[in-house]
């Protein structure tokens, strides 16, 4: 297949300062949990996108000083020679694929808690962060300003040494240079505060100094939030951002334009639940209208026609992606080759971001199980080693996300025949009905992609409308059986708070419902008042509440937790979700645990109450979102009742299970478990994951001795006071 000529513009090179990008695909700065201290994971991760055709890839936010330490969250660091060496590996690997390397120099100011370095950050004014708590910065005097600007210069030089082609003076989402620009952060009365010219001074001077230091060798990029959506106090497009662009345009080689502040940066990294693709175009176009330099920007870009439109209509020069590059590092190559139906589209769930928000874990991706595993497990999203035991037939029972993924990867590994058998009339499992919840339409891409891929695989056959029991599995004729029968929502109120059921909770009654009963069976929700009991922690409770409220019900969400849907804070969906529920009049009752459910009402007590007080809540219906249970009956029967010997007599010499039927989990993890089994189906014991590489320091005998000697010398210099 060949590229559609309509998409040619995406492959035109573009000059940025002293450098040239070979096409219009740019991987915007984004986190992966690897930083400078897992350098190979970092380098292999970024290089995969370069291999996939990206013309430039950027680090995550890259700290220029121990004063800018975001621990517990993981940033990159460029403090010293070790960091230069480590990040240099990333630069080398990107260059090997013809891509430019970019470094997003970052100083967090009051947002950085410095929990490892224990340094004190400096900021324009001493106001605690709106993103963290217990963070105070030192209010900067002129010496501090010079010092920090020098940090940028020194860091830029280190970046150049490491091999970076582009260096950022990063302001968005509301880091130090942008803090100076923004009245919300900058209450100064000297020449660095007040008027726009004053507020712009710090940033302008920093750009000048960095450009003077490295501008001949590196392209200078400035990332600016053009609107923080904080009203008068925040950065505003017309009042602050556009004049600033005009002021420093001559210094900048490429603009990275986005929106939002840091505490609601879901307005930038837009969940598909709330925003469509290309949301930021109006702001990006505004910058393009006043700047003479190339402009790049994100928009959860997955559709090449939309990308072409954005460029041809003069709104953007370079298509930047974060999440679509995670779900498919080979997006550019697939567009180039006209293989649009092979693109694994981002679903905008923000699971990747949630790992950074939690602070610590490496990123994962619902659509792409290999994201983050490029080095750790050596996985490549487009390449598959032919299975050593390929002359086996495989039966996968259940075509939900895990079943589909497993069948697909086994197909790509060349297994002789794979039968994906499903009781329903189509693929998808829970991902058939979850996308029917309000706003989640794009999540169906999990199914769309796998359906198309499986359809293309000649060795994989999809068999719908077939419910296999243990006998059917035994007689099926497969040598390898993989059970992927998913999970269901508890019908009895069993939950993780009390580890018990709830008296009166019985979903066979008319007034008690589970999510599947509503979404799949179409069970009617009686009456007008509904209580959604939610101890799940993620979206199911609030999404059902939204759906029922939209249908005109009076909804109350009750949870024993202190927050509803706490995980949605990590996916950046919480603020807008709360706004929606608030607007719909959904009542939220936290810290309450139902003690009894009856037709007509729920009795509950406050979780911290020690006096036995109970509250009554009248209601017509109760929806139980208490916890999930694995559908393990088939697996249990095969393993415990039929037994491995009897199976072996029928030719089945391997039995595995994957996904939710093993243990309910995030769809990303269910897909991962399926992917891993398929990658390791020919390992000596596929049930047990092979060890993955851990990047850690293992000191050799020599360095242990050096450290010890140094410590002993210090002890000798010290005295214990009398």
């Amino acid at each position: 297949m060949a590229r559609n000529p309509k998409h040619d513009v995406l492959f035109e090179p573009i000059q940025i300062g002293p450098k040239t990008m070979k096409n219009r695909f740019y991987q915007i700065p984004h986190c992966n949990g690897f930083g400078s201290e897992r350098p190979l994971s970092q380098a292999y991760f970024r290089a995969m996108k370069a291999e996939g055709g990206y013309a430039a890839c950027c680090t995550e936010y890259c700290s220029i000083s121990p004063e800018s330490d975001d621990t517990h969250r993981v940033s990159a660091r460029i403090w010293d020679d070790g960091d230069i060496r480590n990040l240099g590996i990333m630069c080398d690997m990107l260059h090997e694929h013809g891509a430019l390397a970019a470094c997003e120099l970052w100083y967090g100011g009051p947002h950085a808690p410095c929990m490892e370095s224990r340094c004190v950050p400096r900021g324009p004014s001493q106001i605690p962060s709106d993103f963290e708590y217990l963070t105070y910065s030192k209010e900067m005097d002129k010496d501090d300003i010079r010092d920090v600007q020098q940090m940028y210069v020194d860091a830029a030089k280190r970046a150049r040494t490491a091999g970076f082609d582009i260096v950022y003076v990063y302001g968005s989402h509301s880091y130090l240079p942008q803090q100076f620009l923004t009245p919300y952060y900058n209450h100064r009365t000297d020449e660095y505060g007040g008027s726009l010219e004053n507020r712009a001074r710090f940033w302008r001077e920093t750009i000048e100094q960095v450009k003077a230091a490295v501008g001949d060798d590196c392209a200078i990029c400035v990332r600016i939030s053009t609107d923080m959506f904080l009203g008068e106090a925040g950065t505003q497009l017309e009042r602050d951002a556009l004049p600033f662009v005009e002021l420093v345009d001559h210094l900048v080689d490429v603009w990275d334009v986005n929106v939002s502040g840091i505490s609601e940066w879901g307005e930038d990294a837009t969940p598909s639940r709330f925003y469509p693709q290309g949301r930021q175009l109006p702001w990006q176009a505004a910058v393009k209208s006043v700047s003479k330099k190339p402009v790049l920007g994100v928009g959860r870009w997955t559709n090449p026609d939309a990308m072409v439109d954005a460029i041809n209509s003069g709104k953007l020069d370079i298509i930047a992606t974060c999440r679509p590059s995670i779900s498919d590092p080979f997006l550019p190559q697939k567009i180039d080759e006209g293989r649009l139906d092979d693109i694994r589209e981002c679903i905008g769930c923000n699971i990747c971001i949630s790992r950074w928000e939690i602070g610590g874990p490496p990123l994962i991706c619902t659509q792409n199980a290999t994201a983050g595993e490029e080095y750790r497990r050596g996985w490549h999203p487009e390449r598959f080693e032919p299975a050593a035991n390929a002359d086996n037939d495989v039966l996968v029972v259940g075509a939900g996300p895990a079943g589909m993924e497993c069948a697909m990867i086994l197909g790509k590994r060349g297994m002789r025949r794979v039968h994906l058998v499903e009781a329903q009339d189509d693929m998808g499992g829970i991902m058939r009905w979850i996308p029917e919840l309000p706003g989640l339409g794009e999540w169906a891409r999990v199914v769309n992609y796998r359906k198309i891929q499986i359809d293309k695989l000649k060795n994989v056959e999809f068999i719908p409308d077939t419910r296999l029991d243990a006998q059917g599995v035994k007689e099926y004729g497969a040598e390898i059986v993989i059970v992927a029968t998913g999970a269901y929502w508890a019908t009895d109120g069993l939950n993780g708070a009390t580890h018990d059921t709830i008296p009166g909770a019985d979903a066979s009654l008319a007034h008690i419902l589970t999510p599947e009963q509503i979404m799949v069976e179409g069970k009617a929700v009686p009456g007008n008042r509904v209580i959604v009991f939610d101890n799940d922690g993620y979206f199911m409770g609030v999404s059902l509440a939204e759906k029922l409220a939209l249908e005109g019900k009076q909804v109350t969400i009750m949870t024993p937790m202190g927050h509803i849907a706490p995980y949605m804070h990590f996916t950046l969906e919480a603020p807008n979700m709360h706004r929606k529920l608030h607007k719909l009049g959904v009542e939220i009752v936290t810290y309450h645990m139902p003690t009894r459910i009856e037709a007509g009402g729920v009795t509950a007590s406050h979780v911290y109450d020690t006096d036995g007080h109970e509250r009554s809540f009248e209601t017509d219906a109760v929806v139980l979102v208490s916890q999930r249970r694995s559908n393990e009956a088939l697996f249990r029967e095969l393993k415990d009742v039929v037994g491995r010997e009897a199976l072996a007599e029928e030719g089945v010499h391997a039995l595995y299970r994957i996904g939710d039927c093993e243990a309910p989990r995030l769809t990303a993890d269910a897909i991962f478990s399926a992917h891993r089994l398929a990658r390791e189906i020919d390992a000596p014991n596929p049930e047990v994951p092979l060890p993955f590489k851990r990047e850690r320091r293992v000191p050799d005998a020599g360095s242990l001795e050096d450290d010890l000697r140094e410590l002993q010398a210090r002890r000798e210099r010290e005295a214990v006071p009398a």
């Binding site: 037939d393 039966l395 025949r417 039968h419 000649k458 056959e461 068999i463 409308d465 077939t466 007689e475 099926y476 004729g477 497969a478």
Partner: protein
């Protein structure tokens, strides 16, 4: 394309059982199951690679498979190649697909019926037969109207998709079918009814007949086309 430009290079072709044949095979197996008696034999004209489709039918539950080793060119010569093999089975019913997915001739079955000298009905969407005597079939006309036809047996019926949902074969059946013997016969297809002079990729955009004029005129034309096509 092949170097003489008269065909597509076979390396680029994927072989599979087409959905009409799958429906026909399924219908035959269902008749056998309903009557509790009878033998389902599947026959095709083609090279060794055509046996994959036959084995698929065996995996579904057909009893025997026969391949006539000849090149299926046009519907009439293909029917000639089939005729002896089919006649040799003395069938009560011959089922064929309405058309194949690749060349959409829609004609081989009816040509075969003529060579066998038996009755035929094309485009059958429902089949009732007691096992002896005439069968009652539904013929699906354009626009969805059903023509109820009584046909004397032996008869050849060309089967339309939608008459049934072909069953899937499990791995056991597929593996067993791999081991089955397929009888191979030869036949002379005789002179072809047409000869391909050249094949070429369809010109881009050549298909659409452009409707010009004001929105009202376009709408008028669209309505005419719709009414004609549904009539």
């Amino acid at each position: 394309m092949t170097t003489d430009g008269r065909d597509v290079d076979p390396d680029y072709l994927d072989r599979a059982l087409n959905e009409w044949d799958a429906c026909a095979t399924e219908e035959a197996i269902r008749i056998r199951e309903r009557l509790g008696d009878g033998e389902v034999v599947v026959v095709t004209v083609g090279d060794a690679q055509a046996e994959g489709a036959l084995r698929r039918c065996l995996a579904m539950g057909a009893d025997r498979a026969v391949r006539v080793d000849a090149e299926p060119l046009d519907p009439v010569s293909t029917a000639r190649a089939l005729a002896a093999a089919v006649a040799g089975e003395s069938p009560d019913l011959v089922l064929a697909g309405v058309q194949s997915a690749d060349s959409v001739q829609g004609s081989t079955g009816v040509a075969l019926a003529e060579l066998l000298g038996i009755a035929r009905v094309a485009v059958v969407t429902r089949l009732e037969w007691s096992g002896a005597g005439p069968a009652t079939v539904h013929r699906e006309l354009e626009g969805g109207l059903v023509d109820v036809v009584e046909v004397d047996t032996p008869a050849l019926l060309t089967i339309q998709t939608g008459i049934n949902a072909p069953r899937y074969a499990n791995l056991r059946a597929i593996k067993q079918a791999e081991q089955r013997e397929i009888a191979v016969l030869t036949a002379d297809p005789g002179e072809p009814a047409y000869r391909v002079r050249r094949m070429f990729p369809p010109p881009r955009g050549a298909g659409a007949d452009l409707l010009d004029g004001s929105p009202a005129e376009v709408a008028q034309r669209i309505l005419e086309i719709v009414r004609e096509r549904l009539a």
